[in-house]
C-alpha cells in the first residue's frame, strides 16, 4: 500500500506541517548518530475486519493495532496519546471488548473484528453515545473523545454483563450504572480538558435510555 495519501488541508495536515517546520533547527544542530546495524524488519500477512470491512495487510510485525488503523487504514479517529496504555486515547472495541490499541500487535488480531469511532456512527447517523457527548458537552479539545466514546459504550455493556468494579458494594449483586460506577470504570481514559463530569452525564443519559 502507498504510504503517501492526498489529504485535504485539514487541522491534522496543518499540525503535521507546523511540527515539521518547528523541528528543523533542532535537527540541523544535532550531530547525526552513526548508523547502528539493525536486524531486518520481519513482515507478516494479517487479515482482520475493521468496522465491518475485511482488510488484508502486509505489516512489519512491530506494527501495533493503533498504527495499523491510523497509518495503514487511514482511520485517524483513533488517537495516539501516550502510546503506553496510560491515557486511553487509543481505545477501540475488539470482538466486543474495549482494549488499548497501542498495547497490542496487529499480527495478534488475525480474524478479529475491530470497531473504531468511525464504525460506531457517522455524522448523519450518530451512535447514541456520540449524540449524548455532543448534547452534554462531553469534550473540549476533542482529542481523547474517540477513546472516551469507545470506552463509554463498552462500560455500559460491561455493567449490563455484570462485570464487577472496584466501587461495586456487592460482588454478587448485579452492578448498576451509577455515577460512581461510571467514574471508576472510565479511569483508564484521561481527559486533560477535564470534561469528566459531562462525560458521566452523557453516559447516564444513554444508560437511562437503555434501562
Amino acid at each position: 500500500m502507498d504510504g503517501i495519501h492526498d489529504l485535504e488541508l485539514s487541522r491534522r495536515g496543518m499540525m503535521i506541517g507546523t511540527a515539521a517546520t518547528a523541528a528543523l533547527p533542532t535537527i540541523a544542530m544535532a550531530e547525526a548518530p552513526p548508523p547502528r546495524p539493525q536486524p531486518a524488519p520481519s513482515m507478516a500477512q494479517v487479515s482482520l475486519e475493521v468496522n465491518g470491512k475485511p482488510q488484508q495487510l502486509e505489516l512489519d510485525t512491530r506494527t501495533t493495532l493503533l498504527d495499523t488503523l491510523r497509518e495503514h487504514l487511514q482511520l485517524t479517529g483513533t488517537k495516539k496519546g501516550c502510546d503506553h496504555g496510560q491515557c486511553g486515547a487509543c481505545t477501540v472495541i475488539v470482538n466486543g471488548r474495549r482494549i488499548n490499541s497501542c498495547l497490542t500487535l496487529a499480527v495478534m488480531h488475525q480474524g478479529d473484528k475491530v470497531t473504531t469511532i468511525e464504525g460506531l456512527g457517522t455524522p448523519d447517523h450518530l451512535h447514541p453515545m456520540q449524540a449524548a457527548f455532543i448534547k452534554h458537552d462531553g469534550y473540549q479539545c476533542g482529542y481523547c473523545t474517540p477513546g472516551q466514546i469507545c470506552s463509554a459504550v463498552s462500560v455500559l455493556n460491561e455493567i449490563k454483563e455484570g462485570v464487577p468494579s472496584h466501587v461495586s458494594a456487592s460482588l454478587t449483586d448485579a452492578p448498576q450504572p451509577t455515577n460512581m460506577e461510571m467514574r471508576e470504570r472510565m479511569s483508564g481514559n484521561i481527559c486533560r480538558c477535564g470534561a469528566y463530569s459531562n462525560i458521566a452525564e452523557a453516559m447516564a443519559e444513554v444508560a437511562g435510555a437503555q434501562a
Binding site: 520481519s42 496504555g85 497490542t104 500487535l105 495478534m108 464487577p164 481514559n189
Partner: protein
C-alpha cells in the same frame, strides 16, 4: 521497538521447547506489559511466540473442591466469574483494584504473575539498574524511593512486585502449574514463584528458561470475610503504596498478605497467629527485618494502620 520474528504457538509443549532452544524468545499473551517494555527497549526479544490460540482460557472446578484457572483467562473474566465472586471474593476485589478496564480485558492470569516491576529506575534506561542491566548498580537506593520496597529487598535492588492479583492468590495459597521444555509438569506454590532479589535481581522467578505457566489452582474455599484494601496516590488506576489482602474468620483468626512493599506478595504465616491480638502484633511479625529508606519508612506505619482498618471492617 527492535525487529522480531513472530509465530503462533500450536501446543504448550512445543512452545516451551522452542522458547528454551531459541535465544531471545518471549511468550506473548495479553502483551500489555511486554509491549510497553519493548517500546522502551527494556525488553528486546528477537522472537515472539503468541500463546493466545492455545485455549487455556477456562475456569474449571477441581476434584478437591477448588478452581483451576487457565493461564490465559483474562483479568476481567476471572474477576467476573460467579464462583470467584462468591467463594474467593478477595481475588475478584484485588483484580478490579488493578489497572484499567481496557487493560483488564487483555491482561492474563499468567501474564499478571510475570509482569515486571514499575520501579521508575527500571523504566529509565539512562539510569543504572541491576534488574535491567546486571551489575550496573541501583539508582533507586538513595533516589526517589517513596513507592519502592521496604522488606525482602537487597543492596542490589529495592523494586516491588506490582501485582494486586498475586497478593490475593498468595493469601489464598494458590499453586502455579507449569510445563517444562522437556515436557514434564510441576506445581509451584505461589509462595515460591517469585524470588527475592539478593545479588541477582534480574532473576525474578523460579521458572526455568522456557518453562510455561498453564494454570493457577485455588484450594477449596475457606469461608471468612474477604477484604482487599489498596492504598494509592489516586482513587483509581494507580499502583499500590500498600495493599492488604485478608481473609478473616468469625473468631478473629485469619490470613494476611501485603502488596506494594516487597519484591513478591508478602506473607508471613507465623505472624498470623497474632491476628486475634490485633494489627500491631501482626504487623510486628510481618515487618520484622524491614529495611525501609528514609522516603518509604511511612509504609511500615501504613501497613499496620491499613491492617487495623481491615480488621475493624471484618468485625463490623
Amino acid at each position: 521497538m527492535k525487529p522480531f520474528t513472530y509465530e503462533r504457538a500450536t501446543s504448550v509443549k512445543d512452545a516451551a521447547a522452542k522458547a528454551a532452544h531459541t535465544p531471545g524468545t518471549k511468550f506473548i499473551a495479553g502483551g500489555t506489559n511486554l509491549l510497553d517494555l519493548m517500546k522502551l527497549q527494556i525488553e528486546t526479544p528477537a522472537h515472539l511466540i503468541d500463546v493466545n490460540g492455545l485455549g487455556l482460557d477456562a475456569i474449571d472446578a477441581t476434584p478437591e473442591g477448588g478452581l483451576r484457572i487457565g493461564a490465559l483467562v483474562r483479568n476481567t473474566d476471572l474477576a467476573s466469574d460467579m464462583r470467584v465472586r462468591r467463594d474467593y471474593g478477595l481475588l475478584s476485589r484485588a483484580l478490579v483494584a488493578g489497572a484499567s478496564g481496557q487493560l483488564r480485558n487483555k491482561a492474563t492470569t499468567a501474564g499478571n504473575l510475570l509482569q515486571r516491576t514499575r520501579c521508575p529506575y527500571f523504566y529509565d534506561t539512562n539510569q543504572p539498574c541491576n534488574k535491567r542491566q546486571p551489575g550496573s548498580g541501583c539508582a533507586a537506593i538513595g533516589g526517589f524511593s517513596r513507592p519502592l520496597g521496604v522488606i525482602g529487598t537487597s543492596e542490589a535492588c529495592i523494586a516491588t512486585h506490582p501485582s494486586d492479583m498475586a497478593v490475593a492468590m498468595r493469601a489464598l495459597d494458590a499453586t502455579v502449574e507449569t510445563v517444562k521444555p522437556d515436557g514434564t509438569t510441576r506445581a509451584i506454590p505461589i509462595a515460591q514463584l517469585h524470588r527475592l532479589p539478593g545479588t541477582t535481581p534480574h532473576i525474578e522467578t523460579a521458572l526455568e528458561h522456557g518453562e510455561f505457566i498453564t494454570a493457577v489452582t485455588l484450594p477449596k474455599p475457606i469461608g471468612g470475610t474477604h477484604i482487599y484494601h489498596k492504598v494509592r496516590d489516586r482513587a483509581s488506576y494507580a499502583f499500590a503504596l500498600v495493599s492488604i489482602a485478608a481473609v478473616i474468620q468469625k473468631d478473629g483468626t485469619g490470613r494476611v498478605a501485603v502488596g506494594g512493599i516487597a519484591p513478591r506478595p508478602w506473607r508471613v504465616e507465623a505472624a498470623e497467629a497474632a491476628m486475634p491480638r490485633g494489627a500491631t502484633a501482626v504487623a510486628k511479625g510481618l515487618l520484622a527485618g524491614a529495611k525501609p529508606t528514609h522516603e518509604n519508612a511511612f509504609k511500615l506505619t501504613l501497613v499496620e494502620r491499613t491492617l487495623a482498618g481491615v480488621m475493624a471492617e471484618a468485625r463490623a
